[in-house]
Amino acid sequence: MAGLDESLRRIGKEAGIDRCVECGRCTAVCPMAEMYVNFSIAMSPRGIIKKALTGESLAADRNLWYCTECNAGTDACPQQVSCRDLVRGLRRLALDAGKQEEMSVCPCCGERFLALPVEDFVLGRLREEPPNVKNWLKLCPACRREGYLRRNA
């Protein structure tokens, strides 16, 4: 367990979470608040930073996977804390710990490219599109472009 704690601390340090003053600006600008009905403090960047600071294990936490890895919180932070880098690092840890099923897998190349709740959100917004469009969107962006190259060029 010591190794995991060590990597958690390193990720936190790289993201600069020890500078966090809990102003909550990252949560105020977070687009997740608009995306999910069940948006909560546990899901918000503030809650995740707090958990990472107190050393709680986030590897098994589903709230980690709602983030879109956008720039908003990082841009808004007065202390240059990067909640995006924190989430990325934590996700990497979780993937190493075997939480593979939280990411959608490209059926073509097998790459993990989008967290499942984020994909659910996108497909929910596009639910009026025909099923073949949605299936096509389940490919990773690189495979989609490659597919167009194969068909059109």
């Binding site: 879109t68 659910d120 929910g124 917004r125 167009y148 190259l149 068909r151 059109n152 060029a153």
Partner: protein, 435 residues
Amino acid sequence: MEPANNIRDNELGIDDLRPRRLEKRTLMDRFMPRRRPFILFDPDRCTGCGTCETICATRNVGSIAPASASIRVIRNDARGRNLAVYCQHCRKPLCVEACPTRAMTRGEDGIVRIEKLFCTSCGLCTAACPEAAPLRDGRTSEIRKCDLCEGDPLCVRHCPNSALTYTKGKAFRWIKGVRWTVQLISFMLLVLVFLGTFCYFNAGSFGLACPTGALQNIFATGRVLLAGLTSLLAIFLLTVLLGRFFCGWICPFGFVLDLVDRIIPKKFGLPSFLKTRMAKYGILGGAAAGSAAFGFQVFCTVCPIGTLCRSYGQQAMFRGAEMAIVPLLAGLELTERRSWCRYFCPVGALLALFASLHLLKIVIGAKQCKKFSCIQCAEVCPMGIINADKLREGLSPEIPMTECIGCLRCLDRCPYGAAKIRFRWQKGVPGEVER
């Protein structure tokens, strides 16, 4: 955990603070639609040099950094083919739907833009775009997307092989007027002037009979009349030459259906066994067999074209029950457009048999077609034979000419000049992908 919900029917009742702008469609748009600018890419001319990326990046960030470009060239060295990925400025953009902060907007001019102020670079637009055209900047991880340089795209200007071209598109839009005029004139002639003479049309020594009527006649009487045979032959030749143009341009009942279709909404579905479109051949066979059995033209008594010509018209020969057939069958328009013609009409079935020897075909070139972003041809096709799913996948759909009624709505509507008439033996439009 609940799945991610859509913001618009969110149970908290919180909606977006910035309401989405709906595009207003004016009367002018209906007849003289604004042409949306777009960039066309020709893979045959692209050498993959990457000048477009470089020049785009100089506009985006002011330095030579192809990673910051809004266009990306995907190269396939094994096949020596390249493809430029850039925003197609869809008619109904999926990225606008998916953007959680509504940073993505489609302007009045048809250009899809990112409002930098609201963009959080989350990349959901890339996840929602069928071509994954919003590109992530490799250096700053921003999302970059083509905005057509506000009317003078640098990539087009600097492409050394003119693989990229900037165009406002082309659409005929006058075929519609010609077709409605021809339909109206033939309706007037067949129904109001020459009463009931679609079924048997005589002008001096020249005679033409309805092909299905002539066929039933042959079966009913067991005798082949020269007049019936010549008219069958004439219509056969015309149909081989021009396809089922009769259905789209001449048929008075088709004209009624086209009119009715504009008024009544689509409410019901049809059972799926009809979708093979074989029922009309069955009706044709049944009509021939029935004529042989009963000794008169069975189908002609209920034929909507015939009853339309006989019961409605200048001489007002109101025949009671016969009047009901046309409105009854026009009521089928509640299900699908031209559903009588699609699934039931034995006249169309016989013409379809003739048209299987068609000389002309309609092709929709996937290269010029903008795939996901448009699909207007499939929407306007009254026979529903243009496969929108294939178009969405970027393939040229095969159009069955036996079902095509030659109304040319697809040619008329396509803003990109992708729908074309070709001879049967021609290999389709250049760049057509056959699969």
